[in-house]
């Protein structure tokens, strides 16, 4: 049967069909739907792990017992999981272990656009790269086979346009591996003491040679012979763009991209007059081809930044002038949702003019005007360290002008060790822990603080107040961020204390739990003085109707408003209220 599946759904399907029994991930765009889909298969134990390193290590535990296991993460997640990856390459596996890295060229939802093909090279593990959802399913199955045949973890790399594009996929049945899972002791394989690791490094080098042989002849690396004038070496989504724009070109399509073949590429080069390499991001295939002494052209250097598209390929291959976006076009950037419980916090930070070390999550959107209150964003869990590190070099007065913000899921991901560091090393800082009871930016996934597993089962709920205290924080305040006065007083008091203080805000994300929605507010035009105070909240439900000629009362879009009531709190003229309440 053929089904319309996204690349992520297809990978989940492939893992299921391959007999996978363990899956773990931390949510991250564009990889999140892999585990969400897998969690629907009752045959596979699946979990949201606190972070990617934990996910991979748990999968290693299962794989060492002979279980086929999969982990999925966004590209930067592999940075977190890199520590186990590099040594896992030495130990190898018992049951097949597949690591999905979902890269994000173009940074649709990421803080950098690193090319994770370098991880395959650096960790000396094989890599597969599908070019559509069908291959995502097929390569997922193949990845488990390669993993077990060559005793190695396998990296399965997608990009946003593979992960979030859909096409028709031929699916199959789940194979019955009929395995008994057990841990068989083998210290020379599983205990990477220097003496054993030295032996293993030699094995890894031999394995790479065997994988190169595979790369030369495998069905994932295929020559498509068409015209002899132009030959293109490509992989992943770029293959689709090449087929679209250059239908007559011969193509060497590389689905197995580490180690890259040598003889196959030489043979292909010998068949065509002009050789081109078309790949997204880094010149990895290009440098490999050139290292073989072959003459090849490649995309102009400027396109190392950003993702490719059929239009970009046409522009540099055929010199086409593409229609450009209109100068009048306005793209609306994402902003904090109407009723977002973070809004009151950023409004307060803006009023108090505090410098804010930020983190990864919805609250990074606190940078958007008019809130303008995020000052750093580098990686998960970093906000606490930024403020702590800064406090050790700033004057006392400046220390009190800086805070850190982090969300609940990100705090559990990698903020706990940061907070321990801050307390242990006597930093002088305030942390705002914005607890909205979900992993919001990726669409609302469970985490250890929600009390539910990925399958919705009840489990132990991590108490963040107790957690913060256990890190050694003496000063902990819990506030309702919908109460602006309470929030402001707590933040002001906390920043004026010495040592590490924490303010925890508690309100669930409005998108996750619609039962929290209240009656929409409205603005009484007669009472409104068009002062603009409510517009300073940056709420998408409040529309400024003023024209350059005339100030007009703002308007609340009742379809968007969820009744958080912040606008009523900032209005000095009592002009904002729930309409029904007014009649009373």
């Amino acid at each position: 049967m053929k089904e319309l599946l996204s690349g992520n759904q297809a990978i989940a399907r492939g893992a299921y069909e391959a007999g996978c029994v363990f899956a773990a991930a931390y949510p991250g765009t564009p990889s999140t739907e892999i585990l969400e889909t897998i969690s629907g298969y009752s045959e596979i134990f699946s979990e949201w792990a606190p972070n990617e390193k934990v996910a991979l290590e748990a999968a290693i535990g299962a794989a060492f017992c002979g279980a086929r296991s999969i982990v999925a993460m966004k590209h930067v997640g592999l940075n977190v999981a890199a520590d186990p990856l590099f040594t896992l390459s030495y130990t190898g596996i018992r049951g097949g272990l597949v690591i999905v890295t979902a890269d994000d060229p173009g940074m649709h939802s990421s803080q950098n656009e690193q090319d994770n093909r370098y991880y395959a090279i650096a960790a000396k593990v094989p890599m597969l790269e599908p070019s559509d959802s069908q291959e995502a399913r097929d390569f997922a199955v193949k990845a488990f086979e390669i993993s077990e045949k060559y005793d190695t973890p396998v990296l399965l790399r997608t990009t946003t346009r593979i992960a979030h594009s859909e096409c028709l996929v031929q699916t199959g049945k789940r194979i019955d591996l009929n395995r008994e899972y057990k841990f068989e002791r083998d210290p020379k394989k599983f205990v990477m003491l220097p003496a054993y690791a030295r032996l293993k490094h030699v094995v890894v080098e031999k394995r790479t040679k065997a994988l190169l042989d595979y790369s030369e002849n495998c069905p994932e690396n295929v020559m498509e012979k068409r015209g002899a004038d132009l030959g293109v070496i490509t992989s992943g989504i770029s293959y689709q763009y090449v087929r679209e724009v250059l239908p007559d070109a011969s193509v060497l399509k590389l689905g197995f991209t580490h180690p890259l073949p040598v003889e196959l590429i030489k043979k292909f080069a010998g068949m065509v007059k002009t050789l081109y390499v078309i790949e997204e991001l880094e010149p990895i295939i290009e440098n490999h081809v050139k290292s073989l002494g072959l003459k090849a052209k490649a995309k102009p250097e400027e396109f190392r930044c950003g993702e490719l598209s059929p239009g970009i390929v046409r522009s540099f291959m055929l010199g086409a002038q593409l229609p450009r976006e209109s100068k009048d076009a306005k793209t609306r950037p994402p902003i904090l949702c109407a009723g977002c419980p973070h809004r009151g916090v950023f409004y307060t930070l803006n009023r108090l003019k505090l410098i804010t070390a930020g983190d990864i999550g919805c609250y990074t959107l606190g940078i958007a005007p008019p809130l303008n209150s995020i000052d750093t964003c580098v990686d998960m869990g970093a906000s606490i360290c930024h403020a702590a590190g800064a406090s050790h070099v700033l004057s006392m007065e400046k220390q009190k002008g800086m805070v850190a913000v982090i969300g609940d899921s990100t705090f559990i991901h990698s903020g706990i060790t940061s907070l321990i560091d801050a307390v242990y090393n006597k930093a002088n800082m305030t942390l705002l822990l914005l607890d909205n009871r979900t992993t919001a930016m990726t669409g609302g996934q469970q985490h250890p603080g929600t009390g539910k597993t990925i399958k919705g089962e009840d489990t132990f709920q991590l108490d963040l107040v107790e957690m913060v205290k256990a890190c050694g924080v003496q000063s902990v305040r819990v506030v309702d961020p919908y109460d602006l006065k309470q929030t402001r007083e707590a933040i002001e008091a906390a920043v004026n204390e010495d040592g590490v203080s924490v303010v925890i805000t508690q309100q669930p994300c409005r998108l996750i739990d619609r039962s929290t929605w209240k009656e929409p507010y409205a603005i009484d035009e007669e009472k409104c003085k068009a002062c603009g105070a409510c517009l300073n909240l940056g709420c998408p439900a409040i529309v400024d109707r003023s024209t350059p000629e005339k100030k007009k009362a703002p308007e609340i879009n009742a379809l968007l408003c969820v009744g958080c009531g912040l606008c009523a709190q900032v209005c000095k003229f009592d002009a904002v209220a729930v309409p029904t309440a007014k009649i009373d």
Binding site: E33, R161, H164, Q240, P310, E325, S326, M441, L560
Partner: protein
């Protein structure tokens, strides 16, 4: 078999992704090869959202190229300017007609209603559309959305 290259634009929360899911599934039922591309993550409520849906005999790229879209379907007319350069010469913009939202029982069904307007310009039988709507929505939401789709079919641009 004709190839259709379609962009759907709107704002996060309007149901752009649901519209493209229904369109893609209707096209599959009608026997086309189909590809669809979207971006999740930052498309929170209020932000610009675009999806690409392409169907025909055989489709390679899941992304429509600038200057090649046959149709642009807007759920929010202010978003059209942003993607107008994707339209091919002679291509068509299907915008929300004046007063159209008021004709709907529930303004939130604008995404499915606009598919009714789009349906007049693609070769997919009505029953395939209705099946796709039924397949994409919870049972209790099906009647109001089918009505919205038919309101779109009956509307003039």
């Amino acid at each position: 078999m004709k190839t259709y290259r379609i962009l759907i634009v709107g704002l996060g929360g309007q149901g752009v992704i649901l519209s493209s899911n229904i369109l893609a599934r209707a096209a599959v039922a009608a026997g086309y090869d189909v590809k669809k591309s979207e971006v999740h993550g930052m498309a929170q409520r209020g932000g610009s959202v675009t999806t690409h849906v392409i169907f025909g005999e055989k489709v390679h790229s899941p992304l429509v190229e600038e200057g090649q879209a046959d149709l642009i379907l807007a759920l929010e007319n202010e978003e059209i300017e942003r993607v107008k350069h994707y339209l091919r010469p002679g291509g068509r913009i299907v915008a929300v007609p004046d007063g159209f939202v008021k004709k709907l029982k529930n303004p939130r069904s604008i995404n499915v209603a606009m598919l009714g307007l789009l349906a007049k310009h693609v070769d997919i039988a009505e029953e395939k559309w209705l099946d796709a709507i039924k397949g994409a929505l919870k049972d209790k939401l099906v009647p109001i959305n089918i009505e919205a789709f038919k309101t779109g079919l009956a509307a003039t641009e």
